[in-house]
């Protein structure tokens, strides 16, 4: 990794040069929410003026550039009682601008899932390799809890990372490609003051987190609370719509379906992103559903990121962006559910355990 400093004016020129000649996606205001807050999304951009560098956070995550809602896995061409299978992995090169550290961490987690498992996914790999990622740090929103998940900083998985230090950006250059682009522009070695302001910025970000979730020992805790009535309580609120999984930067569960082409001369096998909150997620042929109740499915939605993945890969899959909490129509968010879960047992322990010292 090479560290450089670039002035904001020069940085804009750099981004402008990049986006004018490449297929690029950056944060843009697309709508205004019911609370008056602007809604940002990663949208195609053609010039630097279209990008909101000081956006808060996008509504959907950046995972859709790697795991699209619908992805064609293979195509069958029919011919006279026979068929041929055709598979394509190609993906056009794109540039993603302005990903937050939690977004980049989420992509790193997806790498673990999609590429380091038993069967690496070539579809994902093609997209991942052809994506140039420029990350930017930001001050957290009141409901972000990346710090609790230890995902508020990022060390790898990007080509270029920019930290805002007042008049200029402190660049972490993580690829030769990015360095080659930057050669054309005026970049300086970081001075002592720059280093100090970077550390100040990091400290500022770290101390700005208002929401905290206690996740230490959570896998064990979830095991103990498997039959807790809390799940039913929150499950009764849950509408089983699957919004949370669609905006989540790390939810990758999918469903495979096959459909005929309109001309009936072929068919495609597609995967589309799915949510474990949807009713038929665990349904098997014959109609038996292993998770028929809302509470069961909501529980699984929490078990997969916080427990299951920890057991398999020694890390928790949640990055703490709270997109699911913002998107939820029934106002369920991880902070409340997990705190509720912890509180339940603790309050009950206060009730039953004799505590003579307590005044």
């Amino acid at each position: 990794m090479i560290y450089k400093v670039i002035s904001k004016r020069e940085f804009k020129a750099f981004i402008d040069a990049l986006v004018r000649n490449n297929s690029s996606f950056g944060p843009r205001k697309v709508d205004t929410g019911s609370n008056g807050e602007p809604i940002y999304q990663f949208m195609p951009v053609k010039s630097v003026d279209e990008i909101n560098f000081d956006y808060t956070v996008t509504h959907s995550s950046a995972k859709h550039f790697f795991l699209p809602y619908r992805d064609e896995l293979s195509h069958f061409n029919f011919s006279d009682g026979n068929w041929e299978q055709e598979i394509q992995y190609e993906s056009p090169p794109i540039i993603l601008i302005g990903l937050r550290p939690c977004d980049i961490n989420a992509v790193n987690i997806l790498d673990d899932v999609m590429l380091h498992g038993a069967y690496p996914s070539p579809y994902y790999l093609a997209r991942r390799k052809n994506t140039f990622i420029i990350g930017m740090d930001h001050l957290p929103l009141p409901d972000c809890f990346c710090h609790s998940m230890n995902r508020h900083t990022v060390n790898h998985g990007f080509n270029l990372f920019c930290s805002d230090i007042g008049d200029s950006y402190y660049l972490s250059i993580n690829s030769s490609k990015a360095f080659n682009f930057l050669k054309e522009f005026r970049i300086e070695e970081p001075s002592y003051e720059d280093n100090c302001s970077l550390i100040e910025r990091r400290k500022n970000i770290k101390n700005s987190f208002e929401t905290k979730i206690e996740v230490s020992g959570l896998p064990c805790f979830l095991d103990i609370e498997f039959d807790s009535p809390i799940w039913q309580k929150w499950g009764d609120k849950c509408l089983s719509c699957g919004s949370c999984a669609m905006v989540c930067p790390t939810c990758y569960c999918y469903s495979v379906e096959e459909r005929f082409d309109v001309d009936l001369k072929g068919s495609t096998r597609q995967n589309h992103l799915y949510s474990c909150n949807l009713v038929d997620f665990a349904q098997v042929t014959g109609g038996h559903n292993f998770r028929p109740k809302n509470g069961d499915r909501l529980k699984y939605r929490y078990y997969h990121p916080y427990r299951g993945f920890a057991a398999n890969d020694n890390q928790q899959i949640c990055v703490g962006c709270n997109r699911c909490g913002r998107a939820c129509l029934a106002d369920i968010n991880p902070k409340d559910v997990i705190n509720d879960l912890r509180l339940e047992r603790e309050s009950c322990m206060i009730c039953v355990s004799p505590s003579p010292d307590k005044t």
């Binding site: 068929w83 069967y119 042929t285 427990r307």
Partner: protein, 305 residues
């Protein structure tokens, strides 16, 4: 100002080696196991009962036929182009490289489409996926096979295996239960198993009709017909999920160690590769870590059966 001409050719955006071994797209074998299916011809269809048929498939490409090796208990993804994919357990002999046999019940979208297919139709299979019954570990021990209903389909692969290596195993028992006598599958093979494979076999039905002369009741009732040392016995249990619980707890009471009882779980896999999470039980993938689990692991998995 600067020269702002940057052109980034396709595939050349990020030259650095990525943190993973890249699958070689030219090498057929690496890509094949994930997404490309083996093209098969349906060579024979044997009707077994009203709802079940035995499909015999032959992989067309001789090289692919050679590559397709499976172990007893594994499953494959059967794909009918245009209709979809379905996980099916393989019920043919592992030593038979010429044909794959699948015992399939007409139940859902894909299998209904398959039942329309005639002999000579082309389908595609991906696989094999999943874990297998530890046949090597069972050598020198008694083997108790308990199948309920369609559970006889995955049981055929271990039966064939035992037949191939019969001298390595001690007493082998097959208990087979079905709901009605008409739903009993592979009745034509019973004599073969008894006389050629030297399997001690007994059958039972839940709802007997007038033609049925054998026993009726629950499958665990058959256990008193045979004498075996439970400490020296491996058990394989296949059947509907409701069956696992009472059969395995019965075997547990008999004294068979929990890590010597194997069950084959059933979930609706969509990818077979541990990606889609549709078959996840707790933190375990049925497609990667299963479908064969020992009863000890199943006991530790919440909501498994």
């Amino acid at each position: 100002m600067h020269d702002m001409r940057f052109t980034i050719p396709g595939q050349d955006l990020n030259r650095e080696p990525f943190a993973v071994k890249i699958p070689d797209f030219q090498k057929k074998s690496e890509v094949m196991i994930t997404d490309k299916g083996y093209k098969c011809r349906i060579t024979n269809i044997v009707p077994l009962s009203d709802l079940e048929r035995l499909f015999q498939l032959r992989i067309i490409d001789p090289l692919e036929r050679e590559v397709f090796n499976f172990r007893p208990g594994q499953f494959l993804m059967l794909e009918i182009p245009g209709y979809g994919e379905s996980p099916i357990s393989i019920s043919s002999s592992t030593s038979n490289h010429e044909f794959i046999e699948l015992c399939i019940r007409k139940a859902g979208h894909v299998t209904s489409a398959l039942f329309e297919a005639r002999q000579g139709a082309f389908v595609s299979v991906r696989g094999p996926f999943g874990t297998a019954f530890p046949m090597a570990e069972m050598q020198g021990h008694n083997v108790l096979l308990i199948a309920g209903g369609l559970g006889i389909a995955p049981m055929r692969a271990p039966l064939f295996w035992i037949n191939d290596h019969r001298d390595k195993y001690r007493d082998v028992f097959l208990l087979y239960g079905a709901k009605e006598p008409s739903q009993m599958l592979f009745t034509y093979q019973f004599e073969e198993w008894k006389k050629v494979s030297h399997v001690q076999m007994s059958t039972i039905v839940e709802k007997p009709d007038e033609s049925w002369t054998g026993r009726s009741g629950m499958i665990t009732a058959l256990l008193d017909e045979f004498t075996f040392d439970p400490k020296d016995t491996y058990a394989i249990v296949c059947g509907p999920p409701v069956m696992f619980k009472f059969v395995c707890s019965h075997l547990d009471r008999l004294g068979i160690p929990m890590n010597r009882m194997f069950v084959s779980l059933e979930r609706r896999m969509h990818c077979g590769m541990g990606k889609c999470c549709r078959c996840m039980v707790g933190s375990t993938f049925t497609c990667l870590d299963g479908p064969v689990f020992d009863y000890w692991s199943v006991m530790n998995l919440k909501e498994a059966i």
